[in-house]
């Protein structure tokens, strides 16, 4: 088992780069370039829908005509992790599924983001038992948590907008995020 808290400190530290490194890379041109780059990334999420459970139904709705994730440029589901930028973990991750999730995460090309969709992915939800992983952040670094069981499509879009803000704030030095922490276990 891996210490949850320790990992969490590691994964959500995108804003935590110390000031020195910011100063070093902080020339005007670089910042501009960074901003343009982030702008591009933010409007072009190719998602990998790791759909496992109930939230998948809501995920269909989010992609569907009424809420239309495509408006945010995030409508092209790529089922090959190599081509995806955003790993949407939609639904419960059981212990049996966990290795696959980690594998998919490790296969994704940088830069990559993870979206925990629904309480089961966030924390295991009300499945607090022998079979369910208590939150995917025990397995892989997560960028945005969207609770709800399943979340309303609006909540998902809200989360996506927050993720876009996060991407806007990110620096080149935040990447690569590297392999998932459990990848070398055992």
């Amino acid at each position: 088992m891996i210490d949850t808290l320790k990992r969490k400190g590691g994964c959500s530290s995108c804003g935590g780069v110390d000031d020195d490194s910011r100063l070093l890379g902080g020339s005007v041109i670089l910042t501009k370039l960074e901003a343009i780059n982030n702008w591009g990334r933010k409007y072009s999420f190719f998602q990998y829908p790791f759909v496992t459970a109930c939230c998948g139904m809501e995920f269909m709705s989010v992609c569907g005509p009424k809420y239309d994730l495509d408006r945010f440029g995030a409508a092209l589901p790529r089922f090959s992790p190599r081509q995806a930028d955003l790993l949407m973990v939609v639904g419960t991750i059981s212990h049996k599924q966990a290795p696959i999730l980690v594998k998919v995460y490790n296969q994704m090309a940088e830069p990559k983001w993870v979206f925990a969709f629904g309480v089961c992915a966030v924390s295991g939800g009300f499945y607090d038992n022998y079979a369910t992983v208590q939150g995917i952040d025990t397995l892989i670094p997560v960028d945005i948590y969207v609770p709800g069981c399943p979340p309303r499509p609006e909540m998902v879009i809200d989360g996506l907008i927050k993720l876009q803000q996060k991407v806007m704030e990110s620096r080149w030095s935040d990447y690569p995020k590297g392999a998932s922490p459990v990848s070398n276990d055992k």
């Binding site: 790791f50 759909v51 496992t52 459970a53 109930c54 998948g56 139904m57 809501e58 269909m60 709705s61 992609c63 569907g64 005509p65 009424k66 089922f79 992790p81 939609v90 639904g91 419960t92 059981s94 049996k96 599924q97 696959i100 999730l101 594998k103 998919v104 009300f126 499945y127 038992n129 022998y130 079979a131 369910t132 069981c149 399943p150 309303r152």
Partner: protein, 396 residues
Amino acid sequence: MSDSAKDLHSEYMVINMGPSHPVTHGTVKFLLTLEGETIIDMKVDIGFLHRGFEKMCENGTWEQVMPYTDRLNYVSPLINNVGYALAVEKLVGIDVPERCKYIRVIASELSRISDHYTNIAAGAMEVGGFTAFLYFVEARELVWDLIEMLCGARVTSNYVRIGGVKSDLPDGFKDKTRDVFKKCRKLWADVNKLLTKNRIFIDRVRNVGIMPPDEAIAWGFTGPCLRACGIPYDVRKFHPYLVYDQMDFEVPVGEKGDNFDRYLVRMEEINQSMRIVEQALEKIPSGPINVNMPEYRWQSKEDISTRIESLIFHFKTVTEGIKPPPGEIYSAVEGANGELGFYLVSDGSGKPYKCRVRPPCFPLTAAMPKMVKGGFIADIVPTFDMINMIGGECDR
């Protein structure tokens, strides 16, 4: 070309399909042995969504099981709610009021419609017809508006209570239903035009995944998949529960038991379910929606605030749960995928001693290898979809 691939005595290619593969909805793994494109052998590995449903139920009170049933077949949660409530009522031995029965019928049928929409939509998407997929998602969205109006949530409804339902039909439900069904029928017609007579689609699904009737019975098929074989087994007709015996609807059956029949049966069932909802909305009587047995339900807020014994009893039922008499029962309803059975064992305490679900898609998934063996990789796609394996229900 594929013929020449078939001849080679080259090594069989062993491929892992899933669980993170688009066709498998992330919840199942196929271990395929291929010779060229032909499937020589197939092993199905499920359990990727095993969430310990039974264990969770055994650790909650009888009421607390209700949200867990939502997430069994998460495409038609209301049917699961109804099935569980009926099972507990059978165990306790109570009969719900007439209006409640009608509401439950309406809720189940709306759920069934949305399930079939999802199923056909996903099927269309997986054989490449993305537009048909979105039309049915749109239609489902409209049905979900109704469900949300009824029970306050889009997917996980948690609407039915033991001995009744949570709330009455909202105002204007009937008119809204009429509007929604009008739009849904239009979209249904569009999808029908896009798929039903389209030869590309027919070629993909016809004569694929055939299951002869006797074998289907032996494998434990129920629901649309069994009806596609020509056997009109429908729990709603054979063991009428609620008010299904007063409803006028037909059971669509297929002939061959292939994917095309499954598709047609589902398409027709959408229409029949709409008919049922419309009839139920016409016929619904007024009256109470809950059974008048305070010991089996939470007390009303008025009682709690006015009567102290009610308050004490409320605390008792909430913390300990209702206490059905010891015994065991099996009760089945017609789920969207087939017979959804609940086998409950009570030891007289407030928690279920055993709460077993008979998942309809579990035997269907078990028969997958039989249906696709000898076919092509591409045949897995429609077959698996038309089986409509729902992870939450199959793995629980």
